[in-house]
Point group: C2
Chain length 408, copies 2
């Protein structure tokens, strides 16, 4: 057998160990929501003295706050309660989708503190202009954040396309090809914001929505799931044991371009008969007799009509659900996930999409492994979306190495 | 954000550390093929003294051998060369496929030391009888292994179906449902072999073939790949960063049952239009005008006819290649693997399957990420198959904890 070992990790020096332990302690407080020093020490398996010293650094850095005195009335350390700070470093997420842009600022606890959404068609304008508009929206969000004493540790852009190394290789529904989104956005933000410059990264929107589902979804939910993000495009993401699968080039999850009918209608991606052409937002709206360009209002209208029993709406949803189910059956046979999560516009439309999709899954997944009514095809949590996932990704970076983000 | 931390690892006690280090040293010798104590110490970052003591235990346990004296003529320790033992513990793999059974014994270096194959139709007989025949073949292989002073540490059965917890939940092409293969095989082996009883495990054949590709394929090959195993059924497996993806129930990889045409012919799995019906061995043979039941000889005949330019053979291969490409395009969009490996009967037929499959990939994978001629769709290595992967899985268990397998 040939060697397939990963390279050995470098020897940890003392500073690395201290930074690592600082992260451990901050994560313990973060994950518990509130904790005592003793509780943290038990969880991270460090001595009480070591934890107290690390907590001191986290308090100084503004990452945690303490409240509550011990019952003895002393301002004693062991009994006070530590919480993630509600001020100080924060994460910023900016979702630029086809027909809306959302900016979201979350604090160290992961709480949404600012949220601004602009409904507008981003297809009509050149990428630089779209990014400039998004930067202006972000600048307004940063003002609100500043008033709440939050300062951005970084910005993550959530984009509906293939994103790697800060560049959007292709976002067919935006019409973007090879757009250096990070750089353009940072430049625009510098023009309209007085805040000090921050790092800008970018990531596929479905990946970030899936991470938001993982982080903010109901406790006890599956950690191995396939996430579908229904928008103008149909994005997808795979979370395996709590880790996002990025693939060899960072482009995994493009379920919208799995072929449904090889001879079907042409797709914006260049191929034919992709799932997106049958189950994307535009197909749903036009199938339901609603203007394709009606955006979120159109989706709400489709939902209203379905609820009222409108036949065209129900047929469009039935077809989309069947096509979703067909593609999902293949994906489930390939990946054997615990659950499949329907996000984006699919969340509100799940009551009508789920039954036909479940029927396809029940008849096509091998060995009866997906019986109807299993509850394993479910709508996404209302608390997670790509913008929040994007902001939380920044917070994750802070939690991973708080020493790198301490207040100047 | 809610807590998604894995449970903390138990504190390692001294015995655990020693066993772990023993494994590290054995793996170092195994991965290098041959190594000096000094080389091992540098690689595993332990002191020379610690390594020498661990090597002593491995020599006593019969896991490594040493040869070669230092040039100074001393029987000195530091300069002698350590190698994995060619005698002692070995792994046994038994692939029970639809039209053949193969038993393979590999030593600690991963070398094939015994290999027996019986071509016969396993569909005709009840599972217990098939397993009894396989046990008899295994017993003969164990005799040969014994003559080479190899003793089995365990047996892994490779089976063409959904396997979990020692039971074949479903193997449609064998006609097996809910067969406790481990137990039945162990009982039959005890009847016909005088060797002491060994642990028996089982696993999907495509998973094991993919592991064999990972372990025995050309050095420098991708560690993230999709493996297709073309047999009577079409099996699949996903290796991500050198790890097999098993899925939530251990059933990931069933690419043979991804729907190609939802209204297509019925498949043995109960669904319609599965890939297997278009690109499995039976479809290839009958499409090429050869008796479906002709097995390996039939595949050789198909290859011969294709090479001779026979039109029916070329058409059958062209259709299968296109269908493979279509399903692979969906899988590549979803998973973004570095390569796709064609194993089983597809290996020999790759010259004819690859061009039409590449054409589908080139036109259907998003963003031109799979240009023709990329070489990313390639035949499997001739040195790996499911039986060898099954045997090597046992060797892996020994390498993970040699202390558990020391000579009595």
């Amino acid at each position: 057998m040939k060697s397939n070992l990963a390279p050995l990790a470098p020897k940890a020096d003392q500073d690395t160990v201290r930074r690592h332990n600082l992260s451990l302690v901050l994560r313990a407080v973060h994950d518990e929501g509130e904790a005592t020093r003793a509780g943290v020490a038990a969880r991270v398996r460090l001595t009480r003295a070591a934890v107290s010293s690390l907590v001191e650094q986290l308090l100084e850095g503004g990452f945690v706050t303490e409240s509550g005195k011990t019952s003895s009335g002393q301002a004693g350390r062991p009994g006070t309660v530590l919480k993630p700070a509600r001020t100080g470093v924060a994460g910023v997420g900016v979702e630029i989708n086809v027909d809306y842009t959302t900016v979201c600022v979350v604090d160290l606890a992961g709480t949404d503190r600012v949220r601004l959404t602009e409904h507008l068609d981003n297809r009509g304008a050149p990428p630089a202009e779209v990014l400039a508009r998004a930067a202006r929206l972000t600048s307004r969000a940063l003002d609100s954040a500043g008033q709440q004493e939050l300062r951005p540790a970084g910005v993550t852009l959530a984009l509906p396309g293939l994103v790697a190394g800060g560049t959007v290789r292709q976002a067919p529904n935006l019409g973007w090809n090879g757009v250096p989104a990070d750089t353009l956005f940072a430049r625009e933000l510098a023009k309209c914001s007085e805040a000090p410059p921050v790092a800008v990264g970018s990531e596929n929107e479905a990946n970030l929505a899936a991470l938001a589902e993982l982080w903010f979804g109901a406790p006890g939910e599956a950690r191995t799931f396939l996430y579908l993000s229904g928008e103008i495009g149909v994005g997808g993401a795979l979370v395996l044991n709590g880790e996002l699968l990025r693939g060899a080039h960072g482009f995994a999850g493009e379920i919208g371009h799995v072929p449904v009918d090889p001879a079907g209608p042409e797709c914006r991606c260049g191929a034919r008969g992709c799932l997106e052409r049958y189950a994307g937002q535009s197909a749903l709206l036009s199938g339901g007799g609603i203007d394709e360009g009606a955006g979120a209002a159109g989706v709400a209208e489709l939902e209203r009509r379905a609820r009222a029993g409108d036949e065209r709406a129900l047929t469009a949803l039935g077809t989309a659900g069947r096509m979703l189910g067909r593609v999902l059956a293949g994906a489930v046979n390939l990946l054997d996930p615990q659950t499949v999560v329907l996000g984006g516009v699919y969340r509100a439309l799940a009551p009508w999409l789920t039954p036909p999709a479940e029927a396809e899954l029940a008849s096509r997944v091998v060995s009866g492994l997906w019986p109807r009514g299993s509850g394993r095809l479910r709508p996404s949590s209302p608390s997670g979306d790509a913008a929040r996932g994007a902001a939380a990704l920044v917070v994750e970076a802070v939690l991973d190495d708080p020493a790198g983000w301490a207040q100047a």
